[in-house]
């Protein structure tokens, strides 16, 4: 298992050498969304608290770094951490409200969606951060400003982020914190009876997850040199974040990564095919069909099934 992971990492590390520019951009997306899915996986997969507002943390992280850079000249490498910290604080507030008032299932979904929508509306109407037009970052190509002449830099940053989040989740699975989360997902009342402080652990999962998601905001802002409220705070991005770990296997270590390797290329292909005919958003139909298929046939996601196949092939 460890060898498989190191082998996979090694292949990913040398991959850019053989990729053309388009394939490279697809792989950057695969890794970036795998990272976002892994960050979400902590609270949504392991702790079973279905946040569908995680785009808000991407937006908060991105805006924080970009505004700090514009107004104080702070390098986005540091702004990234500030963005993560602010996302963690707001994630903590939302978690506190949701968990203190015992919002579960559908009600927690609504709370998180509403939170992201409020963020979008605030950003759209706040002229200091660009209002509805958003923020544009002048391209200098200076790595100290997180800007690169060569897109392979983005690939390696995305790879490092994904490896970092996966290592965190791997460590979490082996500690009390992560073990408690898997039980909280199953039955919170039983957890309380067994001495598990459920509120504190759900809150911890939410804060860690929103911090990591916040880091991704800076990546997004500087990779595209722009931030639009609708793109970074909108429901479509939240759906992109949620759907990969669900298809791959929510609450499993490799679920978000496998999910992203399945879905990101599919989304690219359907964009390429249907986009020419003016069918924008066709990838959403692909998502919908896949989601229904997963819920019906693989409710645990792809990873457990793949695991069984691998074990059967290599006894």
């Amino acid at each position: 298992m460890t060898w498989l992971a190191l082998g996979g990492l090694a292949v990913l590390a040398v991959l850019p050498a053989v990729l053309g520019p388009y394939a490279l951009s697809v792989f950057i997306n695969i890794l970036f969304y795998a990272y976002l899915g892994q960050a979400w996986n902590i609270v949504g997969g392991y702790a079973g608290q279905l946040s569908v507002g995680h785009a808000a943390f991407v937006g908060i992280g991105g805006y924080t770094a970009a505004v700090l850079a514009a107004e104080t000249g702070l390098t986005p490498w540091v702004g990234m951490l500030a963005g993560g910290a602010l996302a963690a604080v707001l994630g903590g507030v939302i978690g506190y409200l949701g968990f203190r008032f015992g919002l579960r299932g559908f009600y927690f979904v609504l709370l998180t969606v509403a939170f992201a929508e409020v963020c979008r509306i605030v950003a759209s109407n706040w002229e200091r951060v660009g209002g509805a037009v958003g923020l544009y970052i002048t391209f200098t190509g200076d790595p100290r400003q997180m800007q690169f002449q060569d897109d392979r830099a983005w690939y390696y940053i995305a790879l490092a982020l994904t490896a970092l989040a996966t290592a965190i989740v791997w460590g979490m699975e082996r500690r009390r914190f992560g073990i408690y989360l898997t039980a909280i997902r199953e039955d919170e009342t039983a957890c309380e009876a067994l001495g598990v402080p459920t509120f504190r652990h759900k809150l911890g999962a939410m804060v860690l997850s929103s911090f990591l998601t916040g880091l991704a905001g800076t990546f997004y802002a500087y990779r595209y040199s722009s931030l639009q409220p609708g793109a970074v705070f909108g429901i479509p991005l939240s759906v992109e974040i949620v759907i990969r770990p669900i298809v791959g296997g929510a609450g499993t270590l490799l679920g978000p990564i496998v999910g992203s390797f399945i879905l990101t290329p599919l989304a690219e292909l359907s964009r390429a095919w249907f986009g020419q005919g003016g069918w924008h958003g066709a990838h959403l139909i692909v998502y919908g069909v896949l989601l229904v298929a997963v819920v019906l046939f693989l409710p645990q996601g792809a990873v457990p099934v793949l695991g069984r196949l691998v074990r059967r092939a290599a006894p």
């Binding site: 073990i179 408690y180 009342t189 039983a190 957890c191 309380e192 067994l194 001495g195 598990v196």
Partner: protein, 244 residues
């Protein structure tokens, strides 16, 4: 000082007075049974003691400390563990993981917690099922898992809510033996049970509830001869006779 002291406990659900001015105590190392017909308020009383329900009135003290306002996990940390009448295993977690959730509270290192969990599974006779998902257990095994998890929190007082109902006679006898052995290790037990033979052989004192009120209290022999108790149970049996 009693280990557990319940005084004037009351809890109402809408129009139903589930528990009314209930008082009793459990001493260190004691075995007390809480009996009474269905709907008498036994499970509700448990939930109030363990912090799952806030009583409307009255007080619960454990080792002299008032439990009012404590979350269930905090009550558990003080040394009170309950089982659920309607069992609540974590169905997708393995049996040993289920018990680890209980042992991790006092043993934060997962390896230690797992070793403790395996020891508890040995004690309740579930060691052979350690790797199975809890959802695959039989009813009798699930009852034992419920007991194992409560034990895993290393309580001073164990609240057992009908851990024998629905079991065969042999299975019941094994649980009775197990509960006796747990008590001999110094763990006090408060037992809700319908299986009268089990109650009579385990309990040193019995508290009888009917319509939320305590109608009798005493040794098994005293309670068995109490006319009010006989009436409460006869009433139920007459009602039960109509059903198959």
């Amino acid at each position: 000082m009693s280990l557990l002291e319940v005084r004037g406990l009351s809890k109402r659900f809408g129009g139903v007075q589930a528990v009314a001015d209930l008082s009793f105590t459990v001493d260190e190392g004691d075995v007390v049974a809480l009996i009474g017909p269905n709907g008498a308020g036994k499970t509700t009383a448990f939930a109030c003691v363990a912090g799952f329900l806030a009583p409307d009135a009255g007080e619960v003290r454990f080792r002299g400390r008032a439990l009012r306002g404590l979350a269930p996990h905090a009550v558990n940390a003080l040394g009170i563990a309950r089982t659920f009448q309607i069992m609540r295993p974590f169905p997708r977690l393995s049996v040993v993981r289920n018990v680890m959730i209980a042992t991790l509270g006092r043993h934060p290192d997962p390896r230690e917690a797992e070793a403790r969990a395996r020891a508890v599974l040995d004690e309740v006779g579930l060691a052979a099922r350690a790797a199975v998902p809890a959802g695959a257990l039989t009813l009798a095994e699930r009852k034992r898992l419920e007991l194992a998890r409560a034990l895993g929190t290393e309580p001073a007082l164990l609240l057992l809510d009908e851990v024998m109902s629905g079991l065969t006679e042999t299975e019941t006898e094994r649980i009775v033996g197990l509960v006796g052995a747990i008590n001999r290790r110094g763990i006090a037990i408060l037992l809700i049970e319908h299986v009268m033979r089990a109650v009579m052989s385990l309990a040193r004192r019995i508290v009888v509830l009917d319509h939320g009120e305590r109608i009798a209290e005493g040794t098994p022999a005293e309670v068995a001869g109490d006319p009010r108790v006989i009436e409460a149970y006869l009433g139920e049996e007459h009602a039960g006779a109509a059903a198959p």
